[in-house]
């Protein structure tokens, strides 16, 4: 394991999902933290989405607007560039993480700063910006409470909205007491584990950083092509601090976050808070257009980031994942995420959306276990405010993983051999019947009182926690043939 807080989009030192999940599943503290947190947010989300009789229409409109945007992304980005420039901002384009990091580093240097305050941003996490800035001698301070907990703890984020969801109050208290002094103002004497006290400690710790900051780095929840308006949706006010007090603001935004018109926000400002924190509206949403003389940063830069998004866009099934508004509702309802937490996904994007986004942004070869980290139960699709059909994309990516293995391995994998044999056995009723006969014979050796207990070989994974039924003596086909002799049209010839 490396000890860094992140190595870009995919943490290549993380084992494949099943092994990583095993560690998480054995951590009873983590299981308890996740169960409690996801349970709380699920109920809140259902309560506030239930208040809107037209929730389904809003979801459909959100999905359609994203579809419109993605199908004409080039036009909207060019329009956005024009309107931001007209309003006094500067637009930069970055084809990949390295380019984006270089642009931001140079801008910070040009502002004469050796530190930046940051608003929580998935895009900058994805490109490993903090690490790149550190290499250039620039300190990046995360100011979102959960990001602060992760940064102080030398940890990795495990949730899109609440990166420290895997930590409970007691652990956070410990991290603050131990680590705050090394980063600035120490934790108050006698800090308790009361959430209110912990929030107060973060307020005091970060205050001096906000007040002296000359450069801020943010992400963006949206940018309006028509007006050049950029927006950040947040809760704590750390976003407002970063967007208002420094002289220079650098916003790194994935190219898919553009929206056509100002009025389109009426859909997303209804969908996002309700899906995300389960509130009718989040405490603070800030929008700004270029620069405003006498108010806020006088130097505004917008970095438009590709970093795998155009490759995702090229996949006509997979591109719907680019509609994601990072609400994290899919994580909160996912039964797999609830048990394993986010670290098992080995990516800054965990959970169901991560399982479809990570392999597409990084390439399926980099994350081949992720599309299989789902039961395809469909809870994510139901919860998604922009109707991303995550199970459909998962199944699609599974086929890509299998095809990629077919291409790269000279000999078929053991799984491919089993699948091929199964396909052959299922090709005709006669072959199926032969296979069923062998299975029944085999099971006679293993069964006791009609149940089969622990099994050897690859089926051990199944039989470790479940008994299996013994196949009955007569299949349905055989019973039908026996009881309906006149009607049986045999499949012998096929």
């Amino acid at each position: 394991m490396t000890t860094g807080t992140g190595d870009g989009l995919v943490w290549l030192d993380t084992p494949a999902f099943p092994e990583a999940a095993r560690t998480a599943l054995a951590d009873t503290q983590l299981r308890g933290n996740l169960r409690r947190a996801t349970g709380t947010i699920r109920d809140k989300r259902l309560a506030v989405t239930g208040e809107l009789a037209d929730w389904e229409q809003l979801r459909a409109a959100g999905a359609a607007l994203k579809r419109r945007t993605l199908r004409h992304l080039d036009c909207y980005l060019v329009e956005l560039e024009e309107s931001v420039t007209r309003a006094g901002g500067t637009v930069h384009w970055a084809a990949d993480a390295d380019q984006a990091n270089r642009i931001v580093t140079e801008l910070v240097r040009a502002a004469g700063a050796d530190e930046v305050v940051k608003v929580k941003s998935m895009a900058t996490q994805e490109i490993g910006l903090n690490e790149a800035l550190a290499e250039a001698g620039i300190a990046a301070y995360e100011t979102d409470l959960a990001e602060l907990i992760v940064q102080l703890g030398g940890d990795r984020p495990s949730h899109i909205l609440v990166p420290a969801i895997h930590r409970n109050r007691g652990e956070i208290q410990g991290i603050f007491r131990r680590e705050m002094a090394a980063w600035g103002r120490p934790a108050p004497e006698g800090l308790t584990d009361e959430p209110r006290a912990l929030a107060e400690a973060a307020r005091l710790h970060l205050r001096e950083k906000f007040l002296r900051a000359r450069v801020a780095v943010s992400g963006a929840n949206f940018a309006i092509a028509g007006t050049g308006t950029v927006g950040v949706v947040e809760s704590e006010g750390n976003g407002r601090m970063c967007l208002t007090l420094p002289q220079t603001l650098i916003t790194v935004m994935g190219i898919e976050k553009v929206l056509p018109a100002w009025s389109d926000l009426e859909v997303f400002l209804q969908l996002l808070p309700r899906s995300s924190t389960g509130e009718r509206m989040n405490p603070y949403t800030s929008t700004w257009t270029g620069r405003t003389p006498g108010d806020g940063p006088q130097d505004f830069h917008l970095v438009l980031l590709d970093n795998g998004r155009t490759a995702t866009l090229a996949d006509t099934v997979g591109r719907q994942a680019l509609a994601c508004i990072r609400c994290s509702a899919c994580l909160n309802v996912c039964p797999v995420y609830e048990r394993t937490g986010g670290h098992a996904y080995g990516s800054v994007y965990p959970g169901p959306i991560g399982a479809v986004l990570t392999p597409q942004l990084a390439g399926v070869d980099k994350a081949p276990s992720l599309p299989f980290a789902s039961t395809l139960c469909g809870a994510c699709y139901d919860a998604c405010p922009v109707k991303i059909n995550i199970p459909e994309v998962l199944a699609h990516l599974r086929a890509e993983v299998v095809e990629s293995k077919r291409r790269s391995h000279r000999a078929p994998t053991p799984e491919a051999l089993v699948m091929r044999a199964a396909a052959a056995a299922l090709a005709t009723p006669r072959r199926l019947s032969a296979a069923q006969r062998s299975a029944r014979l085999g099971s006679h050796l293993l069964a006791r009182k009609g149940r089969i207990g622990r099994l050897p070989g690859p089926l051990r994974a199944w039989s470790d926690s479940r008994d299996s039924p013994q196949p009955p003596a007569e299949t349905f086909h055989a019973w039908w043939r026996r009881t309906h002799p006149g009607e049986t049209r045999s499949g012998e010839s096929r």
């Binding site: 999940a21 048990r339 039961t375 809870a379 349905f476």
Partner: protein, 234 residues
Amino acid sequence: MRVALFITCFNDTLYPETGKAVVRLLERLGHTVEFPADQTCCGQMHFNTGYRPEATPLARRFAEVFAGYDAVVSPSASCTGMVRDSHELLTGSRPPQVYELSEFLVDVLGVTDVGAYFPHRVTYHPTCHSLRMLRVGDRPLRLLRAVKGIDLVELPAADSCCGFGGTFALKNAGTSAAMLADKADCVLRTGAEVLSAADNSCLMHIGGGLSRIRSGVRTLHLAEILAATEGDAR
């Protein structure tokens, strides 16, 4: 109306009693059921594991075998969903009209009281594919509520996945087992003697867990409860 039964390869091999129950039930309601003997499998396991070239001939075969029927009825929500949602992608043409059993009874035949008798304490697990793929809603519960003698109790956290997920149970055995443990716990909290569902695959998984801990709860497909009558000595 020509009605064909799609038994599914899984039920054919492991749960033939479910198929017999569907036949008994539909005949009791006055319908003749045909069983096209050339049927094998819908290809779901291959499709969901990423083996599309292997799934395609199975989907084609399905379309040939079930062509010409007014309705195909199946005691598997999961396989019904596979046909409905994914066969067209594989074959390029619309698949035959397949109904999951509760859909067929409530929507096509228009019955909720099928004249069943089942004097046991039962809880019902709405499987993910019945709930979120087919959106059968409360159809199975409406059918169960009309069963004479039944003591139907609500399953806590019913809409949570049981952790089966086909090959997921093998590929991610640890996570699957953790989900299974929570589901089994919910079943035990109901005090039910019988756990029912619209998919034997999920029931095999949950039932396997309940059996391993010697819980004494048995699993029974919805069709078998609906087929039971006062004459049965279940």
